[in-house]
């Protein structure tokens, strides 16, 4: 007799917290380092209480030095630990670019497999929280280009847990992007047992026949909401939550396209050179003759960041209504 695994309702931020907690309990090699992760318990309280339970050797309050937060974590990983480095906000990640792209991504490759780098870099990203220029950016486009890195951006609590576990387990460096707006906004059932979700698999969140919408992060939820609204109008839109940015799930996208023949990509990152460009190119290369309409990318504008003033943030971000409007246009094309 199958017994349903017990589960608990939790928000995205609670899912991060509980997954990290379980990981530290499960594996002595795991430790967390970052700014304010110890005594403060992380600025979103993700690691509140951890330092008391696991000790300052495992929950390290680092100096304000992003390059070495990652660099030291790389060294720990090379020497057999399982570090989970935190960059307090994705906007602060730039000093660590050298260590992420130039070092972590290449450890296995340059040593031909003699050294490896099982490292997780966690960071909150995304806007809609009045975060303005330095607490709202999306950074996936800067990193997904780099061979040797893996990048995931889950949007639901269940995916958070499954992918964070997968990231911690992964023998290679994984960037774990947490959309901060979804931290407390999104709530769902999460199984209590340990489980992983494979990195590189997207999730079909809604079936449809007339349009494929690909998204991730906060917008995966808004896209779903918009698609449901269109369902009431008799329009059938399929929604895919990418979950994994590198590697990216080809077959889910192409199978959907073969059904609907129309593709809409929605992402919060700037349009030019965002991941929508790569998806569009892949589809044009591999499935041109499935397309019954031009591929369309609905993305945030190509300005450096959303402003602090509410009208500026709202102008930058994409509303669910706007998503629905574009979906409607595409279905009717």
């Amino acid at each position: 007799m199958a017994i349903a695994s017990p589960s608990k309702v939790m928000t995205n931020v609670e899912a991060v917290r509980s997954t990290l907690y379980d990981a530290l309990k499960r594996d002595d090699r795991a430790l967390i380092l970052g700014e304010d992760v110890g005594n403060r318990g992380n600025v979103f309280l993700i690691t509140k209480g951890f330092i008391e339970e696991f000790g300052p050797e495992r929950i390290i309050d680092t100096p304000i030095a992003e390059a070495s937060i990652v660099g030291i974590a790389v060294g720990m990983a090379m020497e057999g630990l399982r570090p989970i480095a935190e960059i307090q906000f994705a906007d602060f990640i730039y000093p660590a670019f050298n260590q992420i792209v130039g070092e972590a991504a290449k450890i296995r490759y340059r040593s031909n497999g003699e050294y490896t780098c099982p490292l997780v870099i966690r960071t909150p990203y995304g806007g809609g929280v009045r975060g303005a220029l330095s607490h709202s950016v999306s950074v996936e486009a800067l990193f997904y280009h780099v061979p040797g890195l893996k990048i995931v951006a889950p949007s639901t609590p269940r995916d958070v847990k499954g992918l964070l576990n997968a990231a911690i387990e992964d023998p290679d460096p994984v960037m774990f992007l947490e959309h901060k707006r979804t931290y407390r906004l999104i709530k769902d059932e999460v199984p209590e047992e340990y489980f992983t979700i494979p990195i590189g698999k997207a999730n079909l969140t809604k079936d449809g026949t007339q349009l494929s919408v690909v998204s991730y992060g906060l917008y995966a939820h808004q896209a779903l909401e918009a698609a449901r609204k269109l369902e009431e109008e008799g329009l059938s839109v399929e929604v895919i939550d990418l979950r994994s940015i590198r590697p990216m799930d080809r077959s889910t996208i192409l199978n959907s396209l073969r059904k609907t023949h129309k593709l809409l990509i929605i992402h919060e990152d700037n349009k030019f050179g965002g991941i929508g460009a790569e998806i569009s190119a892949m589809v044009a290369e591999e499935a041109l003759f499935e397309l019954d309409a031009p591929i369309r990318r609905l993305c945030c504008p190509d300005v450096p960041a959303m402003g602090y003033a509410l009208p500026l943030e709202e102008e930058f971000m994409i509303s669910t209504d706007r998503m629905a409007e574009v979906m409607r246009e595409m279905v009717k094309f």
Partner: protein
């Protein structure tokens, strides 16, 4: 994004302007700085250049109308806006108006509308149409002005399912044929392709003139098969969009008939097909087209397109169907070549072996109508062409010769239905005169 153009202030103290002449019409593309309207004020007449590149979508002021400066006079859709200004309802399928913008309730521009009042030819006597409108590609049917051609998915699906896109009505934006439309047509069965509708015809397909015709019984309803449906649609479309005018000449075919009689046995022996008057006629037709190229044109929203190639469709009446296979580049063929090409097509039609390609691309149509004795007919033009000409029955008649004597001659009427948007009286009568002249000059011998 639509840009509204307002009446400019042409002069310091000027407060109003008159639209003297629209230089472009809705659906036309306009370059930035290109003049699109002539405006006159009491001080100056000026051509107004467009501030943007795009497609002219609406004219808001009539020619001759005077408005205050600053009044909106036109709307231009800027380039790159294939998503903008899309009608929220699906465009009606058979709409042949320029599909660039939702039609406003205000009246269309007054410039140069083809005037039905200018039809000079008499109304046709209304015998049943002898020619079908199959196979020709319809101009501008493929979608909005800014997205020409079918999408990759549509082309692939059409190819895979052997469907001629031109035969479908589109349910997408601005009448676009969508992938769903093609799939729906495919699901209706192989008869979705008109060419394959031939196979749905009961009994062996026969060339015009043979007698395997199954008359329906009184009081029965004949269900519409795909072929009949499409024929009906095409006929209606042709008649509704092209104002048909009609003319006729009488041609003395005595000599050409003699020529044909001389050649027919050898031809039959050499090629296995019989040599009819048709190839001689087609030869005369293509030569007359060369003199009057407008007969080889088609009307489109953005202009009258004079086709590069001369592809002559030959109407073939079958007991339950009408098809018009096309001789491509007919002007490059000799009489013998035309006879062979026609013979092959007719043979294929009999054996149900015509392909979609055999039916596509026609630019003008010829109908050999006289087999059953008809001496006049008013055929319906194949949509997308400017005219269709018939060969009626060859009848021996007493005629008055040049020196006022009476002689017995073989006489054949040629009837021309023409699209009066493209062809007017001058060209139509000129073409027929040319056709008559050339036919009468052919034979009684020569190399075919």
């Amino acid at each position: 994004m639509p840009t509204t153009i307002t009446m400019p202030q042409l002069g310091e103290t000027v407060t109003e302007g008159t639209v003297a002449q629209w230089l472009k019409k809705p659906g036309d593309s306009i370059e930035k700085y290109e003049a699109f309207v002539e405006v006159s004020t009491d001080k100056v007449n000026a051509e107004v250049p467009s501030p943007v590149t795009g497609t002219l979508s609406q004219l808001l002021v009539k020619e001759g109308e005077t408005v205050a400066t600053g009044t909106p006079i036109a709307v231009i859709d800027e380039v790159g806006t294939q998503w903008a200004a899309a009608p929220t309802q699906r465009a009606p399928a058979a709409e042949a108006a320029p599909p660039s913008a939702p039609a406003p309730s205000s009246s269309p521009p007054v410039a140069a509308a083809p005037s039905a009042a200018r039809r000079t030819q008499g109304a046709p006597a209304a015998p049943p149409p002898a020619a079908a409108t199959n196979g020709a590609a319809a101009p501008g049917r493929d979608g909005s002005a800014s997205l020409r051609g079918a999408s990759p998915a549509v082309r692939r699906l059409a190819r895979e399912h052997h469907i001629d896109i031109a035969t479908l009505s589109g349910s997408g934006q601005n009448g676009r044929v969508t992938a769903a439309d093609v799939l729906a047509a495919a699901r209706m069965g192989p008869a979705a392709a008109v060419g394959q509708a031939v196979s749905a015809a009961p009994g062996p397909a026969a060339a015009a003139g043979t007698s395997t015709y199954n008359a329906p019984r009184f009081g029965t309803t004949i269900p519409l098969n795909q072929a009949r449906r499409i024929i009906a649609e095409r006929m209606v479309e042709s008649k509704r969009t092209a104002p048909h005018a009609w003319s006729m000449v009488e041609v003395d075919v005595t000599n050409v008939w003699k020529w044909r009689s001389r050649e027919k046995d050898a031809f039959q022996r050499d090629h296995g097909y019989s040599l009819t008057l048709l190839p001689f006629f087609i030869r005369a037709v293509v030569e007359s087209i060369a003199a009057f190229p407008l007969m080889n044109a088609r009307f489109a929203a953005d202009g009258i397109y004079v086709n590069a190639d001369v592809n002559i469709g030959i109407a073939i009446g079958l007991p339950a169907n009408l098809i018009v296979p096309v001789i491509k580049n007919a002007d490059k063929l000799s009489i013998r070549g035309l006879a062979i090409a026609a013979g092959e097509l007719i043979d294929k039609a009999r054996r149900n072996k015509l392909k979609v390609d055999d039916l596509a691309g026609g630019t003008f149509t010829v109908n050999n109508n006289g087999a059953n004795g008809s001496i006049a007919s008013a055929p319906i033009i194949n949509a997308g062409q400017a005219g269709i000409v018939t060969m009626e029955a060859v009848v021996k008649k007493p005629v008055v010769t040049k020196d006022d004597a009476i002689a017995i001659r073989s006489v054949m009427n040629c009837c021309l239905s023409l699209d009066h948007r493209v062809v007017d009286g001058y060209v139509a009568s000129g073409f027929l005169a040319e056709l008559k002249k050339r036919l009468e000059a052919m034979g009684p011998d020569g190399a075919i």
